[in-house]
Symmetry: C2
Subunit: 365 residues, 2 copies
Amino acid sequence: MASARQVYIAVIGTGGVGKCFLSQLSALTKRRTSQKLVLCYISTSKKAIYNDDYAAIDIDNAVSALASSAQSPLALNNLVTYLAASGYKTVLVDNTSNQEIADSYPIFLERGISVVTPNKKAFSGSYKLWQDIFNASATSGARVYHESSVGAGLPVISTLNDLVETGDEVTKIEGVFSGTMSFLFNSFAPTSGSGGKWSAEVKKAKELGYTEPDPRDDLNGLDVARKLTILARLAGLPVESPTSFPVQSLIPKELESASSGDEFLAKLPEFDSQMEQVKAEAEKEGKVVRFVGSIDVGAKQVKVGLEKFDLSHPIAALKGSDNIISFYTKRYGSNPLIIQGAGAGGEVTAMGVTADLLKVLSQIY
Amino acid sequence: MASARQVYIAVIGTGGVGKCFLSQLSALTKRRTSQKLVLCYISTSKKAIYNDDYAAIDIDNAVSALASSAQSPLALNNLVTYLAASGYKTVLVDNTSNQEIADSYPIFLERGISVVTPNKKAFSGSYKLWQDIFNASATSGARVYHESSVGAGLPVISTLNDLVETGDEVTKIEGVFSGTMSFLFNSFAPTSGSGGKWSAEVKKAKELGYTEPDPRDDLNGLDVARKLTILARLAGLPVESPTSFPVQSLIPKELESASSGDEFLAKLPEFDSQMEQVKAEAEKEGKVVRFVGSIDVGAKQVKVGLEKFDLSHPIAALKGSDNIISFYTKRYGSNPLIIQGAGAGGEVTAMGVTADLLKVLSQIY
């Protein structure tokens, strides 16, 4: 039976993050007594489960039920209509990295459907989409949260929002925003020892599952540029797109057109001397090289690329595939507020989504 | 004129944190368009300003107006009645470290008055008070937030709550929780160079305003024990009080009864050899000594005191008077989620209070 404090939840995407989220959602529905959370729609790109009477879908068996479902996903505008007609508070959880779904957030928000997502595309696409999303939210009162779009579950976006909304002046944001790049440079140019050859480290990272299927999708810097776009906008800079500021690609020009990731990896050793030179130059200054993003708010400059750091700098001392994000602000002075830890992985990314959902739930009743 | 989305705010305390908070509140009232924030009560321990018709007090001139006010503070139960009778949503902001006010939070919360505060006393006192506070909040729906009770404006409590509420398993929390202790040990036992004599560093810290008027109030470890009590409880351990686990005091037994902070400081050099020995023992192992708090959730052990750390450990590498807090959890694995930065100071402490107020404002309508 429906109760006044019922919340309907629609979930799109059952990949690595999606599966972890469903497991966290299942536990949450059992713990939460103040509201009844009902999964009323779930879909992949090909299949879906939903009911005209919004009957609760068994969360624990949703993924296997989807595999044998005969229903196709609703078109996005029909999903909006379906949720808006429920008569209850509704939340869309988008666990994809799909641009089309991201583009549709404004029509969900306009109809009072809150959105939580780790999908970077909505917040790092065109500045007009960014404005449409937050204007729709402000007008309807529906909430939109995207903590996991930067640094996975690390409290990066909530912290930046708190700094800005309480009136602090953020002067600079700097950090390592890619788990892949973190792993590569912590191995290639460690603070002690000499590290491996660049191409060997890229190969190892791929074998360990730290890179995209084609490592060039990490090495082109676009993932980091998307995250910087989001943070810069939150800090008040109307950045037009992730390609509207300097982004250094680590793909040698000659290999940009390689026909596959495997061909790229096979030819990469020919370019090891270039990266070796970069490492040696840093060593000459007693430093190590890292792939970082930085935002100088006052100068309105955003950039992504290689930088040299003293061995004692927190960015140099990073371990494994950790992210680190430093906020320099007027209140915090010369020592920044620093957040550090795993910035990728299904469980921690889903945690950011679940925490966002909890925020929405605390606000919509 | 009153509107439906009006919120009445009562502020107690106009010390260092209180003044910074008022300045942030003033800016916030000008920026926030979705709700009208009305300061309807303000008090120090001796004076108050309030009006039977809840007329808005000019925030920018409140401190000087208080000095010439003829009104005395309301008794706490009368303040509850005053706020509850307003007919609007109300928030108590307690910017004191007063135990009596802390003890009264349950009667505010029971009547639907939300509470935000940096006051550690309520959350690190008896476990019964802790339970009364959160039970009252759960029953009435009034909110209670206290981010600045640990690490000032650093997102420590919100992060721990997110980890717990999304179902992560926190296994260990470890860190430097006192700006004073951080400054003392970063100077006394730096990772490079030899550092000063212990008594000289304590004297310097006092001169720079980093200690309480009587430095023994920092060196007894109770401030850190209070913070650990709060975090342990949030992590699920029903810690009875800040004196119910081992806390190492850095006050030599012979100086516990010194009649004043000045007498203590005058005699402290006689005990420098003890601390010198502690430092030398760590150095023999290639380590440095730091004053840390740790919570082992599985073993249900909380402790506060001196520990030795490798030079490359983030706790050893801390700078200035920064705090550092590491959360070890099942999801984050061997590399903890780390938060670092200034953990004391009026502006950053007030920022935590203002961010908490914003959370309440987003939830109560």
